[in-house]
Amino acid sequence: MTTTLPATDTSPPGARTAPRLSEKSRVLLVTGAVLLVVAVVAGLRAGSGAVLTQALVTGVLTGGIYSLVAMGLTLIYGVLHIINFANGSLVALALYLTLICVQDLGMHPYVALVVVMPAMFALGALLQATLLNPVMKAPIQIQLLITIGLALAIENGLLLAFGPNPRSVALPGNTGVQVLGATVELSRIWAFAGALVIVALLALLLQRTRVGTEIRAVAANPEGARLVGIDIRWIYVLTFGLGAMAAGAAGVLVSPFTTIEPTTGAVFNLTAFVVVVLGGMGNVPGALVGGLVVGLTEQLAGLILPTQSPLLAVFVVFLVVLFVRPRGVFGRSA
């Protein structure tokens, strides 16, 4: 005998995921409108369309990179609920790895991706397996202290190995090109395109593959994941590896236009943290939007308040978002 259960639910089938989507698009719409108003003000203030275009193009290009740097941070937070303070240091480490690949091994900077990304994945996986997995059930401050310690260790290790002098990586054929009337370095366009590709690949992995669904399942309910046979410690290792790999990819992509110093990571850490909070902690598409918002804010603020640090405007936006929508643009309510 097979017992068949009747459909007893009374809620209309049409009202399923629609409210969530419309809320997301509403928030996106508001964000876009605010940015548009700011852009108009910035344009009037600059008094020149060309200057405004330059700021917009640079803002979008930089924002894409911020998204990639933040991707690792948000992925790790979403699944492991650890704020990885070593994220910026991992970017710095990847910058030095790129430097070795280019200067010592004679590689093209972008070819270094095939070395640096797997290396960073392996390092991230190893760090999770050895340092963080044993303390996953410990109070959150233990995990935070480990990532802060890791950041210090990486930074000082780099200082020890490479010294404090700033270094740089040259991209062959890196000239200025015209994009929508703005002049930008080719390396920034490649970095933006590369960031988009890697973010898209990560999103595909999470949404379309079995292991990606397992990662999302662990993020949604670790206990439920264990109960269906998923070894969550392995998923943690994989996720930290992916997060470190995203930081690694960011390091390679920004290397042609970034001053390479052991402390470079600190700047990335701060920006990435703002991006992640803006986009919603643990939200991958949110990090993409957050990155673009921060990139544009920096550039437009430079036009409106030319004498101030662009970071000032970023933090003002950050505070406003925290005040109006504390869970971030795409964040879910707790």
């Binding site: 068949t4 259960l5 459909a7 399923r16 995921t17 399942a217 206990e223 269906v228 046979g229 998923i230």
Partner: protein, 236 residues
Amino acid sequence: MPEPMLELTGVRSGYHGLEILHGVDLTVGVAEVVALVGANGAGKSTTLKSAVGEIKLQGGSVTYRGERVGHGRSHELARRGLMLVPEHRALFGSLTVEENLAMGSRARLGRPGFDKEWVLDLFPILRERRTQLAETMSGGQQQMLAIARALMGAPELLLLDEPSTGLSPKLTADVFGAVEAIRERGVSILIVEQNASHVLEFADRAYVMESGSVVLDGTGAELVADARVKAAYLGG
């Protein structure tokens, strides 16, 4: 009595150093339906969690198919066919119904199991809601999804913790109907219920728990007839 699949011997366990179970002995045999009844706080859920290694034992032992169950190995047990549907369901709320079911079959690992269509025939509402996020479903639907997800994993012994909690009498009857169908497919079931009259009627055997210990056990029929059980759990 059939050969035991799951055997708890003198199990002592609890949370944060506080002992809740004070030496629980319990067995579930092949193709047997065993009920665990008792008042709120008697330790029924703790017993189930101890059985799958979600809680560290302070004493005693748990064996599944002759092998000792270690703490924190619930994923391995799930892959060997011991699956728990916890009271709070532990669904993947941000995943769709379809994805929840796919994750359930993660535990199967090549073992033969139920046909997905058979599972969906059991709970047709899930077929209609395949693309819906689990967290947006009603309590009854979530309970059905939780059981369906476990079924996708080809359970040989299914532990059900209060499957009727928060459900209307109609939905409760539906869920128990499904449990009956699962039993007919030869799956062993250990079911925890506060609603004792319901489960004692169809369980092969039952245990009555009080304050972290088993105080009575017997066949369902024996316990239904027991004056103490009648007084305490069946409304006199």
